[in-house]
């Protein structure tokens, strides 16, 4: 048909990376990738007109994820109270780099989705701000304000996390 059908496979690792960061666990993330690929195929007739395949694919994933967050396919029950203490393990903050990274994951999980998405597309995909705007269907100004708020919030969360015990999330 056209060369794009081959490219779909090339995008999978990057779609998975972003989905993992968004969804937090492997199963949900891969479900999201699969839904994205299927949606992309259902619209394959549009590919010819897609100027930026990456923005298009990540845009599909964004829409599906937002829909999924609104209407979870499988009802989930929070364990523990409030902050999800039940699936976190307290460890002393002495494990250096690796701990900081896991700490970052915990902080990331506390960002509002709209800030998290912008931050991840910029950080993981190295997307230009204008491209993020295309993918998410929002103005560039909104991209910048979400990025700014997201980064500041993340910074605050990371600083708060420093003294005292740090909660390590159990990543499945």
């Amino acid at each position: 048909m056209n060369p794009d059908d081959r490219q779909l496979l090339d995008w999978v690792p990057r779609l998975r990376r972003y989905a993992r960061a968004l969804a937090g666990n492997r199963e949900d993330a891969d479900d999201l990738v699969q839904d994205t690929l299927e949606r992309a195929w259902s619209r394959a007739s549009l590919w010819r007109g897609v100027a930026d395949m990456r923005a298009w694919l990540f845009g599909i994933m964004h829409n599906l994820h937002v829909d999924g967050v609104r209407r979870p396919r499988v009802p989930t029950v929070a364990l523990g109270d409030g902050e999800g203490e039940a699936d976190r393990v307290a460890v002393p903050p002495t494990q250096g780099e690796r701990l900081a990274v896991v700490d970052l994951q915990a902080a990331l999980d506390r960002l509002p989705l709209e800030q998290k998405e912008v931050l991840l597309l910029v950080a993981l995909e190295d997307m230009a701000y204008a491209e993020v705007a295309v993918a998410l269907g929002i103005p560039v100004g909104t991209v910048m304000s979400r990025l700014s708020r997201g980064r500041e919030r993340l910074r605050t969360l990371m600083q708060e996390g420093r003294p005292g015990p740090v909660h390590l999330k159990v990543v499945k």
Binding site: D5, R16, A21, V33, V101, L104, Q105, L108, S148, R151
Partner: protein, 265 residues
Amino acid sequence: MTNDSRPVTDTDLHAFADGQLVGERHGEVEAHLATNPDDARRVAAYADQVRGLKALFDPVLDEAVPRRLVSATRPAPPRRGGGAWRIAAGFSLLLLGGAAGWGLRAQSAAAPTVAATLPAFAERAAVAHAVFVPEQRRPVEVDAAHEDQLVTWLSKRMNAPMKAPHLQSLGYTLEGGRLLPGGQGPVAQFMYRRVDAEGPGARLTLYVTRETGGQATAFRFGRQGGVNVFYWVEGPFGYAISAEAGQDELARVSEAVYRQAERGP
């Protein structure tokens, strides 16, 4: 000096941290940061966040892609009236495949799309291929000179109209065919040979069985004992094409066979 420039904005700081500033502006922001430690700390923290996020999630890039996702990068399976482009697209994707089991996605969203091992009929096809291609004197029971008789005979024994697909345009000439025992009843084997080559490696067999039971499947690719097999189920028939030839070559042949079968006997 920085006083002469446009004021450094929040956007500039982010763009600097993200490496998205180029040329003159980059230098201006750099100069600004040299004299504004608070902003410099912010930019450093943003860059740290980027590094941290990459460290967290980049390992996903190196994970093996689950098969269900590989399958989902291809369109729905071949169906009658489904549009030839879908098949063509599927085949072009197949050329990307390295491992066994690269095929079009099965229609059922929930079902696993790739069998880890060959189904029984495809395995029998591979064995039958390996048994008969080295034959010098009797590779086939009825040769291509008697194609009419071959087709009539196989149709009668298979209790369905059969025909030998024409693959000349792909460089294969029909050598003939034979009837073989399948799992429960007869199966047909057509043998072809590359016109520009000799020996067992130049041969390709098409195995047609009625024992696969109706449920159309995607194209699949597998390998058994040095024989590559491309197989699918369409209508009442299971088809398996076996050869030493590579996957892309088999994909081309399978496409031709599929199209000719679709047009009916």
